[in-house]
Amino acid sequence: MRILEINGLTFSFAQAKEPVINDFTFSMNKGEIVGVLGQSGSGKSTLLRLIAGLEIPMKGTVKITGIPVVNEKLFIQPEDRSVGMVFQDYALFPHMTVKDNILFGLIRTNRNERKHRLKEMLELVHMEDYEKRYPHELSGGQQQRIALARALAPQPKVLLMDEPFSNLDADLKASIRLELRSILKKTGITCIMVTHDRNDVDSICDRSITMGSGNRISSKGKVLKNNTI
């Protein structure tokens, strides 16, 4: 089943002469983990922001579970897209505890369900004892786990991860990579992960796309690679 379908997506920054994303077409099936590789400034993070609804494309359509979220006539707000996102610097709310951060996205759920989901998420990321801590009381790796738990808690249809390892040191990175894949596979979530490190893709993703050498994504320029992990 197609979870994400992108067709002819084009985006340009206000002052830029050329579009950073040009006529990009791509799709994903349920449960797939796709890595997006490319150099800095090639539009990797912009692609995630366009899917999430944090930027407006100049052209093209995005469909999530077959329902259009942006086309020439329509723009669905980020909060109504059912998309989860793990930001590069995690963006955990500094004035909320771990518990409140995770509960934040559980809007239309009753109290018991919220409690249950919180427990489930904390168990998933092995952080059961940390629910009362504030983000600044956690290490980089712990913050990343909580950011992942927060994004997964509302059961989004697609999970977007923007350079999730960029704030971690090399040793931690290696141990967390394998754990992340197992968490993602356990939940069965469809996930796009932006990274500039091929090792991330090799360890976690089912397949990957790479930005072209001219730092432009195009349907012609994309390189598809099937990984056997």
Binding site: A14, A52, G53, L54, I56, P57, M58, K59, V70, E72, L74, F75, Q77, P78, E79, D80, R81, V83, G84, M85, F87, D89, A91, L92, F93, P94, H95, F104, G105, I107, R150, A151, P154
Partner: protein, 548 residues
Amino acid sequence: MKLEMVKRYAQKELNGWWIVSIIGATVILLPILYVFLEIFQQPNENWFQIRVYLLKNYVTNTVILVLITGILTIFLGVTLAWLTSAYDFPLRNFFRWGLILPLAIPPYIASYTYRTMLSYTGVVQSTLRNQFDYQINPELFNFSSLRGATFIFTLFLYPYVYIIARAFLENQSSSYIESARLLGRKPTAVFIKVVLPLARPAIIGGAGLVTFEVLSDYGVTSYFGIHTITTAIFQTWFGMYDVDTAMRLAAWLMFIIIGVFILERLLRQRKRYHLSNKTKPLVPIKLKGLPRAGAFSYCFIVLSLGFIIPLFQLIAWAGMTFNKVWDIFFFTLLKQTISIAAISTLIIILVSTVIANVCRSKWAFSYMLSKVITSGYSIPGAIIAIGVLAVFIKLDKTLAPFYSYVGLGKAPLILSMSIVMLIVGYIIRFMATGYNAVEVGFEKIGTKYTEASRVLGHGVTKTFFRVELPLIKGALFSGFILTFVEICKELPLVLLLRPFNFETLATKTFQYAKDEMIHEAAIPSLMIIGISTMSVIVFHLIDKRVKK
């Protein structure tokens, strides 16, 4: 294609927050536009009289005041900033923030304090006469002149230059100054050849603020009997009841303001003043011997003249009139001042928050909106007051049939006689103070938390209350304090827009001084100084937090 993009932008961005912002911007822009449009109206006879006989004098006095005050405040502000940031001497840390204190004394209070202190019966001349048997030439202390006004403006407005120049020198100049020192240049040469040219944008920025304050002033100039464009606006309104001519004068003043703006931009143009990206604090050099005593004395004299002496004089006068002034009427005055300032400040912070939030989007329209909303601060209170007055009179005229329908009389002035007019005036004039503080708060938190909240399913309003508001409450608080203080101090606007018999601490102080009841003016003055000191403390705390 473009239209399609605009449509998509509108779908993403347009919401209730935008509507509130656009209404706010319209309310702010309308009176200012009204003043501008007066230029295209047919002038009346009063205007011809003023233009032929008086305008030249008004403009000359205004320009002289601005120029001399500008030069002197730059001198005082920059030398003090240089001393306190580049050198170490006794009480330097105290002077660093203490030299901001003169800003807590509004110039109109300083003007009557100094004039009375230096008068024939004042403390200076009578002490010299009685204790030292020394008769001084009274002409030397003649304060009702341009000389007196420039003295007051310089001494009580230099902190604007000082604050900006000091921030620049302390944080951004160290590598250049250290290079110059290593290249063998002496301190004076370093100051003239390196510090002054580098600090030019900071100096111009500070001097710009001083200029706007001088152009806005009514208290000092009217007390000293100096005719400027601002005092002329008051005379045509209160003396001739001629709103049209007052508006025409206001439009002229507005052109001078625009001229100052253009000049400021031109003076900064084309040159780059800052190449180094690293900000490293300047390490002060320890002074010894005569320079050490000189630096200390210079700072001490300025602080004494600008804060300690007038403060002690006011305390002495307050002691003499305490029983007379400190009565039930005074509490009504205090209550009126605090409640109107609090109401206006609350509205300002509310509107600022809505608009600053909207202006975080990268839309070009939001940039324009932020410029419109903050335009009031550089426009003198008198211009805003005249614009607001004209708009409210027009509103009353438009609503006259409605008034008569509900039985309020034939053509009553309901809105233009109400407190609403004053509140609107305050909002337009001081929106920038609140807005800038709120904007800094939003800039500090960036957009990541907002985006995280939106992706987690919360809309704009819920995101604001649950995520942004708790994170920017510190900025809202400092914005509230700074705006509240400015409103409590404001004089020209309230003199023009207050309803009949409505007094604030500022108007009462001014009234006492005008009636030569100088001693009685001391208690409300001390109240205003006390309130103003709050903003100095907020400045100091913000500075301390930034340094941490």
